[in-house]
């Protein structure tokens, strides 16, 4: 009988913060495992004996779990399935739930056998800057060959291509004091500020509050008491699973709350995540400290783990990460891992400490641990895990092996300065802990480990002081203090030890596979500045932001430069401290809610009539109303024909409308418009043109005078907001002395255009209180009336070139008025027409619109040069620049396809037959009712001289060349007789 080796027990029988009475089942790469409530995916995988969880980004080296928190560089996995599959999740922060499905990434075909690890063998051909150097030539290869190949080979997890089934919220929060981090310093700060009466938000990224206290059984009572005290304060909000990711101007911070990521499906009406914008009076950064790695060959192997992480797995999760461990550390704090591992059942822990024998090492020896002082680790053996660690006495060449399955590393602790750095707070190098420490800034304090104040008792005192100071700065006097944890503070002094110089790959960035050799290469090639070296090597640019190895890379660069790390510095951190989903950034505003959709008061009528809607800015407008089986162009031509031959009605409520009043209203409009409004009689409308300050046409529309001091201005749909801003700007800053007030009344008035030879007979049937004969309401006349019992204002204006009336009514009556006109027009064959027919009619008439008034055309370009008055107006001076008055500038003409059925396209260039010199371009096209066939408007050099000429409309993108005839843009009724009929 063969005796199987006894598998060591990896989960302790008691202790920590996991509920061993309940089990959760989860799957990793298809295999089922068990964990407990309180586990992260990482702790559950370690407890199940899983060592390799992913492959590295560039070399596809096998990687294991390296940390126990959001600083994790290695252990990224895809979580969830189908539409909820989320790539690149740090398994060290994924809260275990029943049924969780996780999948390793960046391996093909499988985790154990990864064919891309050939990159590792080729690594000397893949140095830093490799892509920049290699794929430069030939340039044409980049898009077609190099980039697709690189993209296939590189990258991390793949996002689901399915629509996201969850919803997200973007919320705003305000507080007097924001405390980031709920370790002992954060708890003390939040309680101090809360008891002083300040409104406090305590944000913790973990699903348990306590930070390092979760690894201190002796302080559990204090932690519980602190949390109870905070819960009893109504002015304190503690929010777990909330990562503060960004620190912006004026104490505005961004945070991501993972509301339901720890549940299979979000509860009803709950978002998956909330994106918080927090505006804080005072900020206390109690973000703790991150443990640093040491660069030595093979420091990335599965089985290598930060010492603090091994302690966390043992103490918080009751998981033994390895039973025969080596601790490679240069600081006393890391010695705490020895007891944690021993208590969790480790057979043996050997210490390798590069320092001479010190008090901590001596104490460890007394407790029975083997300590190799003055030694260093030069590598680890094993492919899918470690089976031995190679070490040597510093200065000697003779390495020896230590049998081990876990290598714990600690290069010391550095304050987690990402948020402070983002806020541009100055950093100071602290020789004692060999790290950068943030100073205080207005409205901001760092406390505890986040400013190098290590040890539970010291951090608690520091947090208390920071909380009291923050509350006081926010105007709240401190109350009597509460009891703090007691204890001896460890000696945090660290002798910097960045790197073991030995043969092999020593990583400073595990996620991006950046080695010490890459940093030195960057330096040799001239990237001496830390910001340049960072970008050249991509060091600290991965999703972990270099939290474990950033300073080590800076130290390697400093050594290469022959300077100190203090001089070399660290790159400035930028948001985000941890990745944030796009869904959370978008919040409510995605899909149909991406931007508000504006609808007219006739929207439901249009929908019932079968309108095809189109977007016009934020508006939805009917493009055309197709009858069953009718092709779009047939519908558009039918609608256009109705206007030319009988009568049509169009919803033009989206046009911008501005009410302008004041004793100086006429003066104000005279200065804004190129033409004059002070001479306009009451009861009349006038077409107006407005320039930008630079002399280009800004907008056009009709303005009516309702009273001597009261005007009603219309703008195009697209420019309504811009014209209002233009008016506000000039009224407030340029002519503040003028008595003029204005209000947008776009939404107050619904308006509809009734156009066609039968327009008058149609309206006459239903209008009351107004004579709409040509004598009663001449062209450009404006008057009030009633229609279907509703108040209306009738404007005799036309965009189509036909006899037309624009009927405006307070928007709530739009449907009643619209339906009454339709009923009245039935006997004449009235048709509702949409935006497409509106465009057809105005192109036939030669009216310019957005395609011509595109911000690049002058009054003269669009054939409206005569509208410039003698006096001054906005834009007049710059409109006189030589380039804008050059007679050779292309100007408005009409074009018509010689072969009526040949389509012409906007954007086509006009050239002489056989020439490739562009003389101009087509701006708008339509199939037409009256001239027949395809017509359009164009901007053409030589304009009127070319009327009657034949040119070619060339559209090289579609290999089209269509013969066109140039004409006046007025295809219909150039004498303007119909509108006056």
């Amino acid at each position: 009988m063969i005796e199987l080796p006894r598998r060591p027990r990896l989960r302790t029988r008691k202790g920590g913060h996991v509920d061993r009475d309940r089990s959760l089942t989860f799957r990793f790469d298809g295999r089922a495992y068990q964990g407990h409530p309180g586990d992260t995916l990482a702790s559950a995988l370690l407890a199940a004996g899983v060592r390799i969880v992913g492959r590295s980004f560039k070399y596809h080296r096998p990687r294991g779990i390296y940390t126990a928190g959001p600083e994790e560089p290695n252990a990224l996995a895809g979580i969830g399935t189908g539409a909820r599959a989320t790539p690149n999740s740090k398994v060290t922060t994924v809260e275990l739930h029943d049924g969780l499905v996780a999948r390793s990434q960046n391996r093909w075909p499988s985790l154990a056998l990864d064919l891309m690890c050939v990159n590792s063998a080729l690594s000397r051909f893949l140095p830093a800057g490799f892509y920049y150097k290699t794929f430069m030539w030939p340039a044409a290869f980049w898009e077609k060959v190099y980039e697709p190949a690189i993209r296939r080979a590189a990258g991390l997890g793949r996002a689901s291509a399915l629509p996201d089934p969850d919803h997200y919220e973007a919320c705003h929060a305000h507080c007097d004091v924001l405390v980031v981090g709920s370790g002992v310093a954060g708890l003390a700060a939040a309680r101090a500020a809360g008891e002083a009466g300040a409104r406090v938000i305590l944000a913790e990224q973990d699903f348990l509050a306590g930070g390092g206290l979760l690894c201190e059984p002796g302080q559990e009572a204090w932690r519980q008491e602190a949390l109870a005290a905070l819960a009893a304060l109504p002015n304190v909000t503690t929010t777990l699973r909330t990562t503060v990711f960004g620190y912006y101007e004026q104490n505005m911070l961004g945070a991501l709350e993972r509301v339901a990521d720890h549940l299979p499906v979000p509860p009803a009406h709950q978002p998956r995540q909330r994106y918080w914008t927090i505006r804080a009076g005072e900020v206390v950064l109690a973000t703790g400290a991150d443990e640093r790695l040491i660069a030595f060959p093979g420091n990335d192997r599965p089985g290598v783990m930060l010492a603090g992480a091994a302690r966390t797995y043992a103490r918080r999760f009751g998981v033994l990460a390895g039973s025969r461990a080596v601790l490679f550390a240069n600081n006393d704090e890391a010695y705490g891992t020895l007891a944690a591992l021993a208590e969790a059942g480790a057979e043996r822990v050997t210490v390798v400490d590069p320092r001479p024998l010190g008090p901590a090492a001596a104490a460890a020896r007394r407790q029975g641990f083997e300590v190799l002082a003055g030694h260093e680790v030069t590598g680890g053996h094993g492919g899918r895990g470690i089976y031995s660690v190679e070490a040597r006495a510093i200065g000697s060449a003779g390495a020896f092996q230590i049998d081990a399955d876990l290598l714990c590393v600690s290069g010391g602790y550095g304050p987690a300065i990402q948020l402070a750095s983002q806020s541009r707070t100055a950093m100071r190098w602290d020789d004692r802990i060999a790290a950068f420490v943030p100073g205080d800034a207005p409205g901001q304090r760092s406390a505890g480990g986040a400013r190098g104040c290590f040890g539970i008792a010291a951090a608690a005192r520091d947090g208390l002081a920071a909380g009291q100071a923050a509350a006081s700065a926010a105007g709240f006097a401190a109350k009597a203090a509460f009891a703090l944890p007691e204890g001896d503070d460890p000696d945090a002094t660290v002798a910097p030890f960045w790197e073991v110089r030995a043969r092999g790959k020593s990583f400073v960035d595990l996620q991006h596979d950046v080695t010490t050799a890459d940093i030195r290469l960057a330096h040799r090639e001239g990237y001496r500045h830390i910001e340049h070296a960072k970008r050249y090597t991509t060091h600290a640019m991965a999703t972990d932001q270099g939290k474990t190895g950033g300073l080590v890379g800076a130290a390697v660069l400093a050594e290469a430069r022959g300077e100190t790390v203090a001089v070399v510095g660290m790159p400035t951190y930028r948001p985000y401290v941890s990745p944030v989903t796009w869904g959370a950034v978008a919040g409510h505003h995605r899909g149909r809610a991406f931007a508000p959709i504006r609808r007219t008061m006739l929207h439901d009528w249009h929908a019932r009539r079968g309108a095809e809607f189109m977007e016009a800015g934020l508006w939805l407008r009917p493009a055309f109303y197709a009858r069953p089986g009718e092709a779009p162009w047939d519908a558009i031509l039918r609608e256009g024909r109705a206007v030319r031959q009988a009568v049509g009605i169009c919803d033009v409520s989206t046009l911008g409308k501005i009410d302008v009043q004041g004793s100086d209203a006429a003066t104000f409009l005279d200065r804004l418009y190129t033409n004059t409004f002070s001479t306009l009689p009451v009861g009349k409308a006038r077409y107006g043109l407005m320039l930008r300050e630079d002399g280009m046409v800004m907008d056009d529309g009709t303005t009516s005078r309702l009273a001597p001091d009261h005007f009603f201005v219309t703008t195009t749909t697209a420019n309504a907001g811009r014209v209002m801003e233009h008016m506000e700007f000039h009224a407030q800053t340029v002519w503040p002395e003028l008595d003029v007030q204005f209000a947008s009344v776009t939404d107050q008035w619904a308006s509809m255009s009734v156009a066609g030879p039968e327009a008058r007979r149609t309206l006459a049937k239903v209008i009351a209180g107004l004579d709409i004969s040509d004598a009663g309401l001449p062209f450009m006349g404006v008057a009030d009336a009633t229609l279907a019992g509703c108040p209306v204002r009738v404007f005799r204006i036309s965009f189509s070139g036909e006899l037309a009336f624009e009927v405006a009514t307070p928007a709530g009556y739009a449907l009643a008025v619209w339906e009454a006109i339709l009923a009245a027009g039935a006997e004449f064959g009235i048709e509702p027409y949409g935006v497409e027919a509106l465009g057809l009619l105005r192109i036939e008439k030669g009216h310019v619109a957005g395609a011509e008034l595109n911000g690049q055309t002058t009054m003269r370009d669009v054939g409206l040069g005569k509208m410039a008055k003698k006096g001054d107006f906005v834009g007049k001076v710059l409109a006189g620049r030589p380039g804008l008055t050059d007679p050779a500038r292309p100007r408005l003409v009409g074009v018509r396809a010689v072969d009526r059925e040949r389509q012409i396209r906007p954007g086509a260039h006009l050239v002489e037959p056989g020439s490739d010199r562009s003389l101009g371009w087509i701006t708008s096209v339509t199939r037409s009712v009256e001239p027949g066939g395809w017509i359009g408007l164009a901007m053409l050099s030589g304009d009127a001289d070319r009327h009657g000429q034949r040119l070619v409309a060339a559209f090289p993108l579609m290999n089209e060349a269509v013969e066109v005839e140039i004409s006046s843009p007025h295809f219909v009724d150039p004498e303007n007789a119909r509108v006056r009929s």
């Binding site: 209000a743 776009t746 928007a811």
Partner: protein, 188 residues
């Protein structure tokens, strides 16, 4: 007078109902003091409506008439909907040339949001701090919410708020508001 009752802008597309949210059909009129006439306007309004035109950030109410400060020397006057144009005509007569008066009864939509959870609903789009220490009954603001420009005022300590938005934005605004309030439908 008009044969038809004015339609609500919220009728063109179905928006789900919510117990915390109700439309307040209103007459709404924009009054802007003519240059140098703010004092005359204030006196005339005080005499006619018995209310003092409020300073920035406030609203004032008398009976069922409310005046909200919305811009320098400009207020929105609101009352329950009556005869078409009646409030605007009364204000024109009252101001007697001291103000430009613009009827916005159809152009603006007024809704009420009330309930203990109302601040949490608004926090999903409103940047302002609505904590009782910062914003209370009598206060008003003009502020963007969910990409829509809105007038916000707090009527009482329930808290009950009123929101006024452009009518063509009423549907998307209410869609956001009811969506944001959905989780509180049973608890208001």
């Amino acid at each position: 007078m008009c044969a038809a009752e004015p339609r609500s802008p919220l009728s063109v597309v179905a928006v789900p109902a919510h117990p915390m949210i109700a439309e307040l059909p209103s007459a709404i009129v924009d009054i802007a003091a003519r240059r140098g006439r703010a004092g005359d306007l204030a006196a005339a309004i005080r005499a006619e409506f018995g209310l003092d035109l409020p300073p920035p950030g406030r609203f004032a109410a008398s009976g069922d008439t409310t005046a909200v400060w919305i811009r320098p020397e400009t207020w929105l006057v609101m009352a329950p909907r009556g005869a078409e144009g009646a409030l605007a005509r009364r204000l024109v007569e009252t101001a007697a040339g001291a103000a430009s008066v613009v009827d916005q009864s159809h152009g603006k939509t007024r809704v009420r949001l009330a309930g203990a959870a109302a601040p949490r609903v608004l926090a999903k789009g409103c940047r302002l701090d609505l904590h009782p220490a910062q914003f209370g009954p009598g206060q008003a603001a003009v502020t963007p919410m969910a990409q829509v420009g809105a007038v916000l005022l707090q009527r009482d300590a329930t808290p009950a708020y009123e929101l006024v938005v452009g009518s063509s934005y009423a549907v998307p605004f209410l869609e956001w508001l009811t969506d944001s309030a959905a989780e509180f439908a049973g608890t208001h």
